[in-house]
Amino acid sequence: MNPLKWAFIEPFYKLAIGEDRKGQINLLIRAIGLPLAGILVFLLLWQGAASNINTSLGQFPGPVQTFEQFQNLEAEAEEAAVKEERFYKRQEERNARKLERDPDAEIRVRDYVGPPTFFDQIGRSLVTVMSGFILASVIAIPLGILIGLSNSAYAAFNPLIQIFKPVSPLAWLPLVTMVVSALYVTDDPMFDKAFLNSMFTVMLCCLWPTIINTAAGVATVTQDLKNVSRVLNLNWWTHVRKIVLPCSIPMMFTGLRISLGIAWMVLIAAEMLAQNPGLGKFVWDEFQNGSSDSLGRIMVAVIVIGIVGFLLDRGMMLLQKVVSWDKTADIR
């Protein structure tokens, strides 16, 4: 079965060829009509509520103002792109002239350093969150497997994990900031410190669900399968690879999806405080800016954060479907 199969085309196709008209229309109303109705009701309520809230920065933005701000942000991004293009063009011309006058002249090529646009910020946020999440997974999956393989290790580490799991990113961040500035001392930094601070904070918050769930997944290996492994005299590595890993993949992915969800939530807070470029910083900057457009622009960020979070989770689900051996399992 192809996990990427476009199931939603089926009712349209059946409608087109005239198969089971009534059933297909019902299906479409359920699949598309009801969610649309839900969104519409939400927009109306939002508009109604927004027009009754007056803040010091003006009226709370409704859906229309928010959409206007989205268009503004798009326009600003286009403008920035034009500026960047012009900058490089000017630089090229300048350097060409210089070389014309003196072929041995030393030419300098500078990168464009305009303020990041909203869409750049989304990109930066995604890079940071994925770095933190991947780093956490690389640590958490092997650790989870080791802990799950031994009851003693599980007993030893479980309390620690349970204690660290509920810690807020805001508590980690000051510590991470100090540790990073103390340890990451270099004249030619490859990474921005703010980026490292956000990334490590994200990592610290999303280690735990993956560790716990991977360990729990490893514990689902039945005694029967362990006996098979013993009778076959499988060595430790083959046992882990052939029996433990496939068995724990569903639980592992549950952990990874929880972790990625937490990572994305934590990231916004971390970026705000660490002043790392990204959606969190965008929200903070708009709040500090305090113009009449600010709230609308923050609303755009809120919706984008939600949509990106949703897409990240769907992405993990697809990955799980690709990796999992049990293609019939209902993953939701």
């Binding site: 006996n227 098979v228 009778v231 005299n233 052939k242 068995c247």
Partner: protein
């Protein structure tokens, strides 16, 4: 003392429990010849599986020990292949891959990959599973899964096959089919087999000797019945055979008169 193939001497085992040690088995003595088919029969909880697990090396006896070809058994190994009660196939591997896992492990460097493939296919053919080699366990029936389980055990080329109620979870018709297959294979390969069963007919039909165990705790061997019916055995012909029915009633008498299960 003459060297015999598989020898259990004064085997006993105690399991530690919070309420103190629990004695499951005591003084189990049994000598088994090469190619012999032994059934272990007894009420549930009488330690049949414990005996099998000790021979498999999955449990370690607290007293006595097991000798295979004169060597003491202390850990599990592929020369004592186990067919588990609920097949225990890896659900993410196809029938072929399940057998392959065993073959790769046992014949790591002794066989080329072409030889391995041939050997895997040969064993699947032996249990009549060659038509569904590339299906996963969830795509085949319970009887077929158990066939693959047997193929996996056979593919290890074991000295002894240990079968823990291999057909217990199957319906009567499927069970009869598999029993016939097992008799065929046994005739061809002349493996030594120890099989646990609850089924009196199965025990009489397949075995050379039936080992009847007393009730636990501290279970041991009660009686051993030698089944001297000529091979090959045909279930239809035997149904009216007085000799067969005599063996049957011997086992029944042991189970339901001498070792009546007392309900607690």
């Amino acid at each position: 003392m003459s060297e015999c193939h598989l020898e259990l001497t004064n085997v006993g085992i105690e399991f530690p429990t919070p309420k103190g040690p629990f004695r499951a088995l005591r003084e189990v003595d049994l000598k088994i010849d090469k190619g012999e088919f032994i059934s272990l029969i007894g009420h549930s909880g009488c330690g049949k599986s414990t005996v099998l697990n000790i021979v498999a090396g999955l449990y370690e006896a607290t007293e006595g020990g097991v000798l295979l070809n004169g060597k003491e058994v202390s850990s599990p190994g592929p020369e004592r292949a186990v067919v588990f009660q609920n097949h225990s196939l890896l659900p993410w591997l196809t029938a072929y891959e399940n057998v392959e896992l065993a073959v790769d492990q046992v014949f790591k460097k002794q066989k080329s990959s072409a030889e391995k493939r041939e050997w895997i296919e040969h064993n699947l053919k032996l249990v009549h599973m060659d038509h569904a080699m590339h299906k996963r366990p969830d795509e085949i029936s319970g009887g077929m899964k158990q066939r693959v389980g047997i193929a996996r055990a056979l593919a290890m080329q074991p000295e002894v096959m240990l079968m823990d109620e291999p057909f217990g979870a199957l319906d009567a018709l499927t069970r009869a089919h598999l029993q016939d297959s097992l008799m065929e294979i046994q005739k061809e390969l002349n493996n030594t087999v120890i099989m646990i069963t609850h089924d009196v007919d199965e025990a009489v039909l397949l075995s050379d000797r039936i080992v009847m165990m007393t009730n636990g705790p501290a279970a041991t061997i009660g009686e051993i019945l030698k089944v001297e019916l000529p091979h090959p055995r045909d279930r239809l012909a035997l149904a009216d055979d007085p000799q067969y029915n005599h063996y049957r009633s011997e086992v029944l008498r042991f189970l339901y008169e001498k070792q009546r299960k007392v309900d607690h």
